[in-house]
Symmetry: C2
Subunit: 368 residues, 2 copies
Amino acid sequence: MTVSKAATVYDVADRAGVSIATVSRVLRSPDAVRPVTRERVLDAVSALGYVPSGSARGLAERRTGVLGLYFPGFDAAEDAPPLDVLSDADAPPFAIVRDDADGDDGHTSMLFLDEVLRGAELEAWKQGFELMVGVGRDDPDRSTVRDMAGRVDGLMVLASSVPDDVLARLARRIPVVVLSGPPRGDHYDHVTVSNAEAMAELTRHVLAQVGDGPLAFLAGPEDSPDGLQRWEGFAAAVTAAGRSLDDVTVLRGDFTRGSGRRAAEELVVSGAPAALISANDQMALGALDVFRGAGIRVPEDLLVTGFDGIEAAALSRPPLTTIRQPMIDLGRAAVQVLARRLESMEAEPVLARLPLQILLRESSQRPS
Amino acid sequence: MTVSKAATVYDVADRAGVSIATVSRVLRSPDAVRPVTRERVLDAVSALGYVPSGSARGLAERRTGVLGLYFPGFDAAEDAPPLDVLSDADAPPFAIVRDDADGDDGHTSMLFLDEVLRGAELEAWKQGFELMVGVGRDDPDRSTVRDMAGRVDGLMVLASSVPDDVLARLARRIPVVVLSGPPRGDHYDHVTVSNAEAMAELTRHVLAQVGDGPLAFLAGPEDSPDGLQRWEGFAAAVTAAGRSLDDVTVLRGDFTRGSGRRAAEELVVSGAPAALISANDQMALGALDVFRGAGIRVPEDLLVTGFDGIEAAALSRPPLTTIRQPMIDLGRAAVQVLARRLESMEAEPVLARLPLQILLRESSQRPS
DNA sequence: ATGAAAGCGCTAACAA
DNA sequence: TTGTTAGCGCTTTCAT
């Protein structure tokens, strides 16, 4: 644990017998320095294990080279058990668990965020930025995101993870790009996807098979913008096909597997439709479970589709047709937009839309 | 895009009619300031949309309040397609894909890192730190991790993502904790798991069922420290049971599903053992596929176990017994260790070992 | 309770 | 090509 009190430019300059300006030059524009001098400086640098202070640089340069990515909070996190590695040193090296669990809800939603993060990190690296991440929690004064805003050159904010007023304030200091979700005014750049259009297309695909057989839609919570857009896409396709929405059985869930199961049970009781369009995968998977149990065959008796493209959707039986968000590309795109913005603050606000992938799988293909 | 040139303490001080020292006080120790004054300052703060500069703070305070997390690179990333959102504005809103893919290799390994990250972020938040993330890539001069080191108060490094010399150098400036993987000397704090012990325990569990029936071990690549530790745990349990390792059929794979399949095919030809212990889940899953195809029943004819606890292991048929790394806790523990270290540089290096979870599932339970 | 002033470590004019 | 020097925006003694 020998952490010496960090060498500075002065130390390096001393040791190399040059001025601090020369040290700085060697690091930032090596060619502006005579090779011999440069060598001497570099030697001093490695001898002292010198690493420039990001804070000092940031202050002098008036830019940090860091981009911030801010996520909505995943509830359960706050009350995670108070792990304490340091005290229980002699814990057993393993624990045995009989595991009969069947898939956890909630957990999965994170996977999307992970992918966005990966995309953002990749692109940030390509563009020469570092990445700082933060998660929105029930922070009374939103201090985290504000702290972040003070440390980064630009901020990427996922959907509704930051309330409007806070966002507006941060945007006065640094550029902000809003990711995924409905546009939030023309003061920010946006990167999003065409939820409604893709859902409409998928609905057309289903309608083409079921003709005017009975339809059910499994909706998300009322306050979900995504859920709403998906419903709108569905509704548009249905009406465009000359059918009335009154014929459609609309069930409301909360995006969890459990709520999907409950909805399906209702359907089983009231008589199964020809197709069930779900606003997300989790609910569709829950429904699939129930249908299997009830002896309703998918896709022979009933077509089912989801939305999101989670991994479990590919592994279900039958594999679930779904629409996949290009999460990695969302992250990458956000960084690109931000990087561009950083170069020209005057340009018009951007609204980039990324294409969704409709993954046709067995659950929506009626056997001919 | 109205990004004004960021207000500073001076602006706030002017507007509130106080000195910059008072502004600073209001923000850092509000009680040291008379309530009326404080109000006046806070008003100015929100009127101006003031957000303190992290760089200036970091410089003055000599600590940034940021922790760094550095991952090994996931190869394929570098040559990701050169996405360009800004140019193709009128791309179609969706694409239709007939998806018959059966599970992708490689991708999954990332999930672990994601969880570590989540744990680290959670704990960083609890401890009042921000988190910066970086991925190790084939960076000639490792500039990314060095940049990070210059910006953070402490660094968490995953396994072998940073070469020894670089690591040693960074550790001269800031505390470093090494996560998961074999200890790398006593200059760093470590947080890791007991690979070998857990594998030994799992092996005992299997041995208890197969008696002295023939055993096969599906090993990872030779140069994998994890793979090695797992083999050692297995070997220890086998010898402790009074059996010779010469009886064991050892197959070598590369941690991919494909290599698991190939190994299983060999086994099918040469005659299946009573149990197959695999060094990771992917390979075990590949093997499971082959056995099913060959009409070998798991667990009736053959027990199979994996290692890692990936999601697909819970969804396979039969569900795969495996050992799960406590990835979230690894992340949390790393932050805890780092935070502790930041308070006392003199304390002895820590080596924290987290317990693994042995998840017993159908694939290793011979029906009685 | 508040203000004045000295840095924190670096970059970037400007001089030499 | 190299050195001198004035900030960058904040925290923190030390006075008052």
